[in-house]
Amino acid sequence: MQIKTLEDMQTAKKLGLAQLYPDKPKILVGMATCGLAAGAQKVFDLFQRKAQHEHWDGVVEKTGCIGFCYKEPLVDFILPDKPRLTYEQVTPDVAEELWSEISAGKIPEKHFLARLDIDDPILDGGPRKLYKGKLKGFLAKAPRYEDLDFFKLQRHLAMRNCGFVDPDNILHYIARGGYFALYKALTEMAPEEVIEAVTVAGLRGRGGGGFPTGVKWASCRKAQGWPKYVLCNADEGDPGAYMDRSLIEGDPHAILEGMLIGAYAIGSSEGYVYVRAEYPLAVKTLQRSILAAREAGLLGENIFGTGFSFDIKLNLGGGAFVCGESTALMASIEGKPGEPRAKYVHTVDKGLWNRPSNLNNVETWANVPLIIAKGADWYRDIGTEGSKGTKIFSLVGQVKNVGLVEVPMGISIKDMVNLIGGGVPETKEFKAIQIGGPSGGCIPRELWDLPIDFDSLWDAGAIMGSGGMIVMDDSTCMVDVAKFFLDFLIDESCGKCIPCRLGLKRMREILEEFSTGKGTVADLDELQSLAEAVKDGSLCALGGSAPNPVLSTLRYFREEYEAHVLRRKCPAAVCKELITYSINQELCNGCTACVQECPQGAITGEKKKPHQLNAALCIKCGACHEVCKFKAVEVF
C-alpha cells in the first residue's frame, strides 16, 4: 500500500489498530534476541501449531522486548475487553499449560507477571483503556505493571512500541501514531522549525557524548557541501549493553522515522545505518523495515508528495569496538580501516566522503518523533535541568532484577539499585555502581543519592556512555575491576596513537604490581599522572575515556588501593597473591567437607576434630571457603 496523503495514513492506522486489538484473542510472544535466547521460538511455534491444529479463532504474533529480560520468555494474552495479561518464564511446558486454559476461554493464574489496564501509545490517540466495567476474581487482584518495583519509576518513551508491535509490521507502527510526526514535520514545519523544536526540547545524544542534538543538526544544515549524509550509529559495542539492539528489534520504524525527520531538517537525501554485524536479528529487522517503508512510499522519492526524498542504506559494522567512534565509523563506511582521525574539522562539515554528515545514536533517533509529535515543551518537562527526556540503561551485576530499564533522567542511583534492581543479595552490601560502559566510572555508596543525568555523572567522574550499569557488592575488589575494564580497552584499542596503545598497557602493568603485592605508594601517583596523560593525549575518545575506571576508583577507593600497596592486602579477598586461607579452630567441627573439596590436599584433620590448612600447598582457589557451611574457613 502506497501512502501519499493524510487519508492514506488514517486508513493504514485503522487497519493497524484492527490488528493490534482484534475482536478475537491474541497471543504475543516476546521474540527479541533476549527472548529467543531463553527459548521463545519453541514457545511461539507451539502456540502456532496448537492454534492451527485446533482451529483456534485467534492470532499468534511476535513482538520485541519490554525490558524484563530475566523473566523471558514473556507471553502476553490480549483478550477483547480485558486488561493485557503478561506471563513470565514461559517454557514450552508452561506454554502447553497456558494454552489449555486460554484456548478453553479461561484465564491462567500460574506464571502470571502483571496486567496492563491502559495502553498509552504516547505518540497519537491518547491512552486507551483496555477493558470496560469492573474487574472481578483473579484479574481484580492481579498486580498491575505499575505495582511492580521494576516498573514503578520507568517511563517507556524511546521503547514506546517495544513489546507492543510486531516489528515487521509497519501498520502496527502507524497504528500507534508512527509516521504521523514525519507527516507533521513535512507538511506543517519548516526545516528550521524542526531544528528549533529539537533544540528547545533539550535532546542530547544518547550514544555517549551527550552533545545537544539540535545544535549538531543546525551546524550540519549550515555546512557547505553536497550531498549531506544522515547516519545512524547502531554499532553498540559495549559489553553487556544492548539497548540499541532492543530498540531496533522491537521498533525499527521509530529509528527510520527519526532519521527521516532529521534528514528533512538538515537537507539530506541519503542516509546510512551502521549496524553491528554480530546482531543478526537486528540486521534482518532493519532490512525488512527499510523495505516496508520503501514499499509504503515513506522512504524514497517525493515522500507524502512534498518533494522531499530520502533513502537509507544499511552498512554492516567492521567488528571492532572503536568502529563506533564517529570518524572511525565513517572511514569504515568508506571501505577504509575503521580507525579514528583528528576531529578538528568537524564531521558535520567534512564527514563521510568529506561531505557534511550528521551522526546520531539509535536511541537519539528514536526520541525525535516524540518531540515533533508532542512538542518541545512536553519533552522538556521530563528529566532534569541539563538532561531532558528519558534514558535506557542496561542494569546488570549484583542485583535481583536485571534487564533494560527506561527512566526519566534524574532518578537516583539508590532508586535504580534498590527499587528497580530489587537491591543487592541479602548477605551482601552495595559497594559501587559502574556507569557508562568499559570506560565509565565507579560511583561509591556515599554518592548514591546522585541523580543520574549527563552532568552529575560527569562531575562524579563517570559518564553516561551508552547506559551500561553494573552493580557491585562488597565481594568486588576495585583494583580488580580497574584491571578488568583496562583489559577490554587494551584489546579494543586500534593502536594508532601512543598514549592509548602503550599507556593503557603500562597502566595495566602497574595495576598488576598492585594486585600481586609489588606496588608502592609512589606508584599510586605514577598511575594517576599516567592516567591523566592518556586522557589528555589520546587521539580519540576511546583512549580519552579509558582511564576513567582507574581515575574514579583511585578517587573513591583510594584506601583500597593503599591496602594493596601498604599492607599488601586485598580487603575484598579477590587478589589471590594477597590473601591467605585459614581454618578457624573454634568454628570448625571437622565435617571434612573441605578435605574432600581441596584439589591440593592442603587440608588435613580427623573427623569431628578441627582441621588444619597447610598454607604452603594452598593455591587459593577458595573451594574450601565455598563449601564450608560453618564459616570456619577464613580469608584475610
Binding site: G495, K496, I498, L502, E509, G537
Partner: protein, 190 residues
C-alpha cells in the same frame, strides 16, 4: 593572515596552516615524531601536543593537525603538556631503550628507562606511519601498510606477502625516525 599567540607571543600564519607550521616559521620548538613536511600529518605520536584556549575552553590538541584560528591562545609549555610528552617519551624509551633517537628524546626530557623497559629491542617500530605515508604519497607506490591493531599493530606489506609494488627505492628507510625499517625492509619487497 590569521593572528594569534603562541606562549604569549603574537604570531601570524596563513589560512590553511597548522599551529606547528606557524611555530616552525617563528622558530618555536615543538617536539614531533610522526610529522614530516613531505607527507600529510597523521596524528599518531601525540608528542607535538599543545594547549589551545579558543575563548570557550582550553584543551590539549596536536599542533601538527590543529588548524590555526584567529585569536586563539596556544601554550607549548604547561604542566599538562609536559606530563603527556614525558609519558610518551617514557613509554617509547621503555619499548626500545637502545634506540639512539629515543635516547636523544629521553635526554631532552630528562627521562631514564623504567623498571618496565624491554630487553633487547634496539630499534622498535613506533608505528608512526611515516614509511607508509612516504611510500604512498611520495613514491606513489603502496608497498607498505599497517596490519593488525592494538598491541599487535605492525608495518607490513599488503596481505603479508612480499609486495610487487616495492621499487626498493629506500624512501621508507630514509624517513624512518627509529631505524626500525632497516629490519623490516627485506621483508617488504617481493
Amino acid at each position: 593572515m590569521i593572528t594569534f599567540t603562541i606562549d604569549g607571543k603574537e604570531v601570524q600564519g596563513q589560512e590553511d596552516w597548522t599551529v606547528l607550521d606557524v611555530a616552525k616559521w617563528h622558530g618555536i620548538d615543538i617536539p614531533t615524531l610522526c610529522y614530516h613536511p613531505a607527507v600529510e600529518p597523521y596524528g599518531a605520536c601525540r608528542l607535538c601536543v599543545v594547549e589551545v584556549d579558543d575563548g570557550r575552553r582550553s584543551r590539549v590538541v596536536i599542533s601538527c593537525m590543529y588548524p590555526i584560528r584567529e585569536g586563539i591562545k596556544v601554550l607549548t609549555d604547561t604542566p599538562r603538556i609536559n606530563n603527556v610528552r614525558r609519558w610518551i617519551v617514557q613509554l617509547l624509551l621503555d619499548e626500545s631503550p637502545a634506540s639512539p633517537k629515543m635516547q636523544e628524546l629521553a635526554t631532552k626530557f630528562g627521562v631514564t628507562p623504567s623498571r618496565f623497559k624491554k630487553a633487547g629491542v634496539d630499534f622498535a617500530c613506533h608505528l608512526c606511519g611515516l614509511c607508509v605515508r612516504a611510500c604512498h604519497e611520495v613514491v606513489g607506490a603502496q608497498a607498505l601498510t599497517f596490519g593488525n591493531r592494538g598491541l599487535r599493530k605492525e608495518i607490513t606489506s599488503p596481505f603479508h606477502t612480499g609486495s610487487k609494488e616495492c621499487l626498493s627505492c629506500g624512501t621508507c628507510l630514509y624517513v624512518c625516525p627509529t631505524g626500525a625499517m632497516e629490519q623490516l625492509f627485506d621483508k617488504v619487497g617481493a
